[in-house]
Amino acid sequence: MELRIDRLSKQFGSHIAVDRVSATVTPGVVGLLGANGAGKTTLMRMVCDVLRPTSGQIYYNGTEVGAMGDGYRALLGYLPQDFGCYPDFTAIDFMCYMAALKGFSKREGLARSKDLLEEVGLSSVARRRVKTFSGGMRQRLGIAQAMLNDPSILVLDEPTAGLDPKERVHFRNLIASFAQDKIVILSTHIVSDVEFIANRILVMRSGLFIMEGTPESIVASAAGKVWECHVDARQADAMAARMMVANVRYAEGGRAVVRVVADTAPTPDAVPVEPTLEDLYLNVFQDAVMR
């Protein structure tokens, strides 16, 4: 099973949101990492066939997905970034409705809906109206509906937005166990979301894939660019304004430990340290972050 994205582009007026990107996605979790405005949402909408590409194609097992029509949509599970969910429906109604849309019979749909609400921890509020839900609850409901049809291709756009740390961990475990022999594409601008569950990371910037590989190999590309220096607290603030500072840890006696991402040693006494994905992200999106 593979999903092949072939020179896919989307242009809004004169602005190119996705710029001839190509990738072949196989089962496992693919993390789409990029700052806001990188083009992740636009790309995912095209993958889910709700936005027509300006050019390029998407193939599922060699067949162009437009030609597959319903057959392709049957394989999809999609959690959009900004979605609505019928505020006056109860959670269980909403799930049963989505189940009907996904072709389940009434009984089957109800059973699947209950299971998934249980899975995302919403079964106790299943009969409450969606409009009374918090952002995190809505997000979990969105994840549940995406997984209703046990999709072969699960597309999750910023799935952890609005989730608290405990919910994030639960979500990661849910996805990790789901992703066996399925394609999961997950977008985020939060590094820790993908650091541990993605088998593969695509780094996106200005509509382009600028880096791709396993989390380890991507992290390795930042090797030798991450430094730790011990400086005065006042000096630390000055450094933060001038260079890419990943972290400042204030110590006793007006001292600070500053973690800097830079091609060369920022201070004479700087020592190189093991990079993390976050360091890399900062490095890649330096200009975006500094702005």
Partner: protein, 409 residues
């Protein structure tokens, strides 16, 4: 499909603004009907007193029933003589009589005079009779109602509709053909409830408008609420779903239409009785060319209103599928309806304006408006039925198509 339709109906019913509009229109129809029943007033010719409320209807029914029977030439001549006599007696002292209240007239001239002159002159039956029977302003009578009505029609047809639209030869023979199928002499009698139902027909346009408001969010609501992006990329999202939306809208609008009709006409039928449904439609207007019974006309108007509603709903759905926000969709049918009412006053526009919802209900089976398409001639109700059925058949699939092609961006 059944499940999807049920959910779509649920969404329509959960849309507060739409349901409020439907409730308001239904209450309006009911209030107008009830108001008309409860606030009636009429002079009781027997006692010479003015009766108000439900009791008035007995007086009205008695007056109508006093004219019941077959209106053959002899009967009509006799009634015209009664009317002419009343006119003549009035003319002797018109200025003074015109300034008197009914009570003063009874006091000064006696109840007999009041009954035979004033009552006759204001009895709807005699007024209708006069319209058909007077051939000129010199007081020449037609030999019978059939001739009178025939004369009236040919006069109309030899002129222009509203003094503006000339009748083509095909239109003239169309109307004359219709009129020739009336079976003379006609039977007269009372059909109070049906008369009231017909007078309030135009207000059912509010029911149509409310139905449109209720379905205005069916597609646009999915765009505006951000639900299109989860509903579309599903197995049935681009095939059954939009069809279910159209079907649900039509079912909702139909149920609402017929419920409103049942409530509105039910008030009259329960309060005033259903008698008179089988009488010829001409009892309300002797010169009307439609060879139908009172019941047939009412039923046809309700069916026509239903078709108009379905057409308007389909048109609303098309707008809903094209626009991203609900408001302009909801406002359009209302605007079209009211613009139509005003446009009718501008004579060159009025034939087209007749075809807007409220005018269709108000003017069908009354107006002598006809639309000639080459040799084929349509009267207002058939032109409207065709137009709105076509609108439904064209707009519904187009709405489905726009939804399927909607771009989430």
């Amino acid at each position: 499909m059944g499940t999807l339709i049920r959910f779509e109906i649920k969404k329509i019913v959960q849309n507060r603004a739409g349901v409020a509009a439907c409730a308001i229109a239904l209450i309006l129809v009911m209030a107008l009907s009830l108001g008309s029943v409860l606030t009636a007033g009429a002079w009781d010719a027997r006692s010479g007193s003015y009766v108000e409320g439900l009791g008035a209807w007995d007086a009205i029914r008695r007056t109508e029933q006093s004219h019941a029977g077959t209106l053959d030439d002899a009967r009509v001549a006799e009634d015209m003589a009664t009317y002419d006599e009343a006119q003549a007696r009035w003319a002797q002292d018109a200025d003074h009589l015109g300034s008197l209240s009914a009570q003063q007239m009874i006091d000064q001239y006696g109840i007999e005079f009041w009954r035979e002159v004033d009552r006759v002159r204001s009895d709807a039956y005699y007024l209708r009779l006069k319209t058909a029977m007077l051939l000129d302003d010199k007081g020449t009578h037609a030999p019978g109602l059939q001739e009178g009505a025939g004369n009236f029609l040919s006069n109309e047809l030899s002129g222009r509709y509203l003094g503006f639209f000339p009748y083509a030869e095909s239109e003239r023979s169309f109307w004359e053909g219709k009129a020739s199928r009336i079976e003379w002499p006609i039977e007269y009698g009372s059909a109070l409830a049906w008369d009231e139902i017909l007078s309030f027909m135009a207000f059912y346009a509010f029911v149509t408008i409310a139905a449109c408001i209720a379905v205005s969010g069916v597609f646009a609501g999915e765009y505006q609420g951000g639900t299109a992006s989860i509903a579309l990329p599903t197995l049935r999202g681009k095939r059954s779903l939009p069809v279910a939306k159209v079907v649900a809208s039509m079912l909702f609008a139909s149920a609402y239409w017929w419920a409103s009709v049942a409530v509105g006409s039910g008030v009259f039928l329960v309060a005033l009785g259903a008698d008179g449904a089988g009488l010829p439609y001409q009892i309300f207007d002797f010169v009307n060319p439609y060879p139908m019974t009172v019941g047939q006309v009412c039923a046809s108007l309700f069916l026509l209103g239903w078709v108009v509603t379905l057409g308007c709903v389909a048109f609303t759905l098309l707008l809903s599928s094209r626009l991203r926000s609900v408001m302009p969709v909801a406002v359009t049918p209302l605007a079209v309806t009211f613009l139509g009412v005003f446009a009718k006053l501008i004579v060159p526009l009025s034939k087209v304006a007749h075809l807007t919802p409220m005018n269709v209900l108000n003017d069908s089976f009354v107006a002598l408006a006809s639309y000639a398409l080459g040799p084929v001639v349509f009267d207002l109700p058939s032109a409207a039925a065709l137009l709105y059925a076509l609108l439904a058949l064209v707009c519904a699939p187009l709405a489905v198509r726009s939804f399927v092609r909607y771009q989430v961006a």
